[in-house]
Structures are given as structure tokens and as C-alpha cells.
Subunit: 466 residues, 2 copies
Amino acid sequence: MRILLGLALTLPLAATAKPKRKSPPPPTAEVAADLMGRALADDGAYTDLVELCDDIGARLSGSPELDRAIAWSQSKMAAHGLTNVRAEPVMVPKWIRGEERAELLGDSTRDLHILALGGSVSTPEGGIEADVLVVRTFEELQERAAEVKGRIVLFNAPFVGYGQTVGYRTQGPNKAAELGAVAALVRSIGPDSLDTPHTGSTRFAKEVTPIPAAAVSLENAELLQRLQDRGKTPRVRLVLGSKSEGEVASANVIGEIPGRESPEEIVVLACHLDSWDVGQGAQDDGAGCMSALHAAKLIGQSGYQPRRTVRVVFYTNEENGLAGARTYAAEHAEETHVAAIESDSGAGAPAGLRVHTHESDDTAAVIAALKPYSGTLAALNANGLREGYAGADIGPLSAPGVPTFGIDHDTEPYFRIHHTEADTIDKIDPVLLQHNVATMTVWAWTLADVDVQVITSPTLRGNMPE
Amino acid sequence: MRILLGLALTLPLAATAKPKRKSPPPPTAEVAADLMGRALADDGAYTDLVELCDDIGARLSGSPELDRAIAWSQSKMAAHGLTNVRAEPVMVPKWIRGEERAELLGDSTRDLHILALGGSVSTPEGGIEADVLVVRTFEELQERAAEVKGRIVLFNAPFVGYGQTVGYRTQGPNKAAELGAVAALVRSIGPDSLDTPHTGSTRFAKEVTPIPAAAVSLENAELLQRLQDRGKTPRVRLVLGSKSEGEVASANVIGEIPGRESPEEIVVLACHLDSWDVGQGAQDDGAGCMSALHAAKLIGQSGYQPRRTVRVVFYTNEENGLAGARTYAAEHAEETHVAAIESDSGAGAPAGLRVHTHESDDTAAVIAALKPYSGTLAALNANGLREGYAGADIGPLSAPGVPTFGIDHDTEPYFRIHHTEADTIDKIDPVLLQHNVATMTVWAWTLADVDVQVITSPTLRGNMPE
């Protein structure tokens, strides 16, 4: 993979002349301002997102719905004027949620509200019936390790932020299995609940035999906690019919706006087309895909052509495998990626960009280099630039050194419905989606058009390709 | 029913002496202040509510859970020092929610998220499959009356307040049936949703053959609306196994703190013990029952004895019939009810009392008479007195003229989870529940202890008993 690391920006920002459509090309920032205006006058992203959500809906890797979404995406890219539109094959895991049921046994049997975690194995025929041990932390699990064998462990960790809490879902079942638990329940990873289970992936170490694992609603987790705190031992019957069916064919969907001067240099606009199998994948990540698609569309329709190629990539299998991201990075390793921008935290108000490189100094240099170009977005309060996580799909591009960027959202509304039946298009504010498209458009254009001449930090300079 | 209508308050409010436990009795307002302090130092209502919610849970009329709750309530009343504790028999309708499922048909079949409305008949064997007609208003239903026959009508009225919107649930299915609909769906009556259906009652006129009726989540209602707005005709398969099983025995649970001077005069503290069959009936209306119970407990334990009798009534069957309220009013018609206070809108921050009589002038007079006694609650911002709805269970007491009072809550958190799986005790703020108990205690004491001498308005005076 050839990489151009860091950006130095030499074009004048102040420009008074009207943009011209012929050479010499107009100043980058001036075009960006024009494009922002176009984005705010266009509601196509929302219209397309309605189709994706309502006509297709949830689209888990390996499902017929994702296959239909892949076909739909190709036709949309073509209709919106992208070129080199194609679906690049990716093998993805196919996991199917079956019947699922959890019951709290007692004087009356009460249903608990669960969603099997992605990848969970099924329970044996007839389900599992066992006493529950509730723990709030991994430390408490260790303290009570002797009590785990033969029980269902419930991790009931209050939400204190996604990054700080999600480990109970990704690692908790594995830790419970290591200690002999027969199944694991995880309090849903979310700040709020109307008896709302949140699914998501969990992982087992190779040497650990996986156990069935499901998310329970906050309400149900607290119920079991209270019963235990009052000296009772809740007993639960768990039935999960979920199963994995090996690997099947899927695809990343790709389309481009070719560069005018250095078409071999690529700026990736990234999102993932797959979703969990609940809700509509509206925030996660339909909105991101529509932002990327319509940013490219707007650039293409504007008559301006960026110096470099803008490449939209709808990745497959972000949710339960990252196969799309890995396959793309491997198969495009010889190409020159200048930058990658991902939108994968909904369509809340964008604050700007989170910037990621492997060194804080480099990140600071990139931020400094881009800051003069952020002004256009000030009117949307979307002109922020800060160090932070960029995105899962572009992680493999980042590994060898490509600067990566994540649209920096207000994520409160995102995590409220993340991986739930409530991730539906009614949660998308059409105006804020336009702000998202505008933000993506401005940065897509800027990163694809600015002059890249000087590597701004010693670290980046040291990694510069020959 | 003998009634003492209106209140005139002649006791001095300012008192500096410590309350004495023997005659002459201390001033009403002074005791109220003492009782408020006791209420704020006592967390028994929350502890009991945990038992009711976690050990019994939802308790629909006619269910084994309600029977257990009735037994539990009697033992709690006795344990807390109430006297004349008894369960007074009431016949209630028994309705059972069976299997229920709704599917949006199409390229992929997608589950809709529903709760059958209370009392709904079942669908025929195999369910109903029909095209859906979505209307936002009754006017739109009339405009499209010719299209209704053979279809499933969805009432998709946005929530603009419970009172203004609930008619679509209570009357919508009847109106659809009159026009030949084969089933009705109603957008859940609530301000917010995480794909959260809200159940509740619906009614059919005697001459109308009932059709199956269910609530759908806001998300699903909007999905069907969008599909229709885009020129499509959504088709739904609906399976409801719900059925009515006639009438069965239930009971109102009653306990008292006897009056010292006029024990035959009664102030009712009201709530309903039954709930819908989802969630835990924590806000609706477990919290109200615990407020009433602990108000009486605190009065009884204080050593003060009110002039009149405080009678706690846990009504049965408020949700789907009001049989408890009607039976109580009929069987106690010969007793002298001075006032009734109900708490049936959750345990949000209490603002004071809503006051109801049949004439605005009388209501104003009652408010004026009580205002001097509200000061104790100012520290909780719970000293408000305003004209308004008092409560469903005490409606039959109000009919012949008893002034009725409703604890005046912030209902935003209430309607968010009303009649849903999310009405669970984790939504109850223990401190605000104490404020509720304090408010109920102060007014229970005040209404049971003030001197009733003068009827304050001509209307009320005209209705005065011989």
C-alpha cells in the first residue's frame, strides 16, 4: 500500500472570484463552501435512507436482505453518477438468530426480554435451566469465581459510556465460560431503556468452549440484581436457537468520483452497509452510507473535479467480523490511500472530525494542517477537529499509516438505540442528516483536493513512501 | 350515601407548642408538619413496592398474580397497623392475552411489535391477512370510509397529550369495525418509544361486532404510514389469541385508621392494585397504593389520631372495567364519605393536589379552604392546589358530590412507560416516592382532621345531607 502521510496546505483560502469550472481549478476552500451549500439544499440522502430502511430493513451479514441492499446500493451509486461502481466479493460469517426465550421461574413464570448476542451458540434441546449469579464487575466475578460453575452469569454493569462498558458484552461470556458457567447474560450496553435489549458481538478465546450468551434489558438485569441482593437466587430457563452457518458470499460496494490530476491517489469515504438483524440499521449505519454516497454525488454533480479520486466504500460485515474491512485493505494494499473518512455513529449533530494517526504529534500536525479548511462548517457548528477514534472499517487502512477521520457526532441519541429494534428511520432528523452530508462533503472534497507536498511531522516523514 | 360537602377550616394554623398525644388534640397543621417529617424519614413505601413488583409483578384482573397481590396487601396492611383489614369481594372480567404476532409481508417478512388491546377478541384460526389503511385522524377515516371494508385500519395519531390522544385507542377500533374493517391497529398512546407498544382498553358499542385490535409501536406505525405515503399498500398478517373468560372473583383490599371523634366520617385514600399484564405495574399503580398504605401507616404509628377515619382502598379492576370502584361505591353508599384522594399517575415529583367537584365555584371554595393547610408541603414544591381530574377509582364517589382529589404529578415520565413492559420499579425514584408519601400523608391527615362546619358554597350547601 502506498501512502501519502500528512497534509500541507498551500492554496490560498481567501478567494473572491466566482468558481470557474475550467483550469486553473478554483481554490479548495471556495469549492468546499459551494458544496456545503449544495448539500444543505439536497434531501436525497434522507429519501434514499427511507428506501434502504423501509424497503429492505435490517441486513445482517449473509442475509437475503443484505444481498438486496448490495444490489440496491450499486444501482443507487450508478444513478447518482458515481463511476467504477462494483461489488467486490467478500466472504462473511452467516449467523442466524433462532427462537429465543428467557424465563424467570418462580410462583409465576415471567418472561425476560433478551436478544441473543451475535455469534452465540444455541442452548441444548429443551434449553438451559440454572440459578443465576449476578455480578456488577469483572472483579466481583473473580471474587465469586467458586460460585460460577453450573450457573448462568449475568453481568449487570451500569452504562458509563460505550467504550467503558462494552467489554462486559465482548469479553464477559468468555470469562464466565472459563469459570464453568453454563450460559451468560449481559445487561444491554446502553444508557436508557424501555425494556430494550441491545444485541452485539461477543468473543470466545480459542481454547474456551463457547456458551450461549444473550443481552437482557436494563429492567430485567436490575430485577435479577434486586432479587439476589434480597437473598434470593433467581432461576432462569434460557432457550436460544441461534447458530452459525459458516461463511457465505457477500460484497463491499464501491463507487468513485475520479480525480482530475492524481486519480491514483484515493480518499475513501467509508461506512458499513450491513447491520444487526433488528431494527432497520438506520443510524448504524445506513445514515453513514447515505452521507458518503451523497457527498460523492454532490461532488460529482457540481462540475468540480477534485485533484484525487473520491472512493465511496460501503463495507460489509462490520458488525460481526470486519471481513469487509480486512478484505478491502488486503486487496487494495498496492493503491495509494491518502485519507479515509468514516461515518459510523449515527446522524446526530456533527461536531466535526475525530482525527486518528499513530502518533499524537502527527495527529496534532494533521489537525493544524486542516484547521484552515474547517471554517466553512462553522455555520453548522461542525468545524471541530480533535484527536479520536476514526472508525472500525477504516482501521485496517489506518494500520500502515493512512490518516483516518471519523465524523464526530453527538452520540447520546446513537447509543440509546444502538443494536436494538428501535434503530429505525424515525430516529433520524432529516435536517441533521443534511448537516452530516454537508460535513462529509466538505471534508471529502478538501482531503481529495488540497495540495499534498510537505510531511508535517518527523514521524510521518520517516514513514514516507519511497 | 351520606356526604359532607365542602370544608370550612376553623382551627388556628399557627401553633408553637409541641404536639401532645392526648386531648385536647394539637392543631391539624402542626400534626401535618410532624407527619411530613416522618414520611421523609421513612423508606418503607419503596421497600414494599419492590416486593410487590419483583415478587408478584404484573397483576391483571382475574390473574393468579392479582390474587397473590390481594393476599399480600392484606398482610401488609395488618403489619403496618391498619385495622378492619379486609378483602371485599368484587366480580371482575378475566381477559387473557394469548399468542400475538403481526407481520409486515413483502420481499422479507418483518415482525411488527404489538400488544393486543385489553379485551380484544382473537383473530380467526390462522390469523387475518389484509391490506392496511393508515389514517391519522377520525376525519381521515371518514374521508376514506369507502376504502375500509376488508382492511386492517391503523390509527396513526401522534401523541399530543394522553387525554387528547387516547380516544384513538378507546374508540378507534369501534369506528373501524362500523365501516367494515377486519381488524384495527392503534399507534401506541405515548410520547416516546424504543419500539415500545402500549396496551390499554378499547370499547365496542353493543350493536357493533368487535374486531381484533392491537397497539403497535410508534416506529411500526410510522413505517406503515411512510409506505402508504409512498404509494404502497402495506399488507399485514395479524394473529391474536386473546380471549375473554367471563367474570371471576376478585376483591378490593381495605384497611383503616379509625377516627377519634367522628369515625363514621370517612376519608378514602385510593389507588388500584390491578395492573395491565405487562411490566410490573410500578407506576401504574403500585406507587399509588404504597403511597396510600404508608400515609395511613405513618398516621397510625404517629400516636395522633385524626378526627375522622382514614380508609385505604386498593381498588381492583381499574384498568379494564372499574368493577372495584363501582362495587365499592354501591356497597358503601350509606356511609359518610367526606373526601377521597387518589394517586394514579405514577411517582413523579408531586406538585400538590388536583381538586374536583361538580361546580367550578365549589372547587374554588374547596381550594380556598385548603390553601392555608398546604404550606407544609411548600418545601417539597408540592403545595399546589388546582382544579383538575381526581382519579378513575374515586369517580363513582364523586358522582353524588364527594369532593375528590388527585395527587398532581409530573406525568411526563408516567406516560412514557404507561401500560408497557417498561413500567418497572427501576423507573421509580425512591426520593420522589417519599415526596409522594409525604404529600398523601399531609392531605390524608388534613382532610381527616380539620373541622367541617360550614359548607363554603351555595351549591354544596344545597346538596348537604339532612
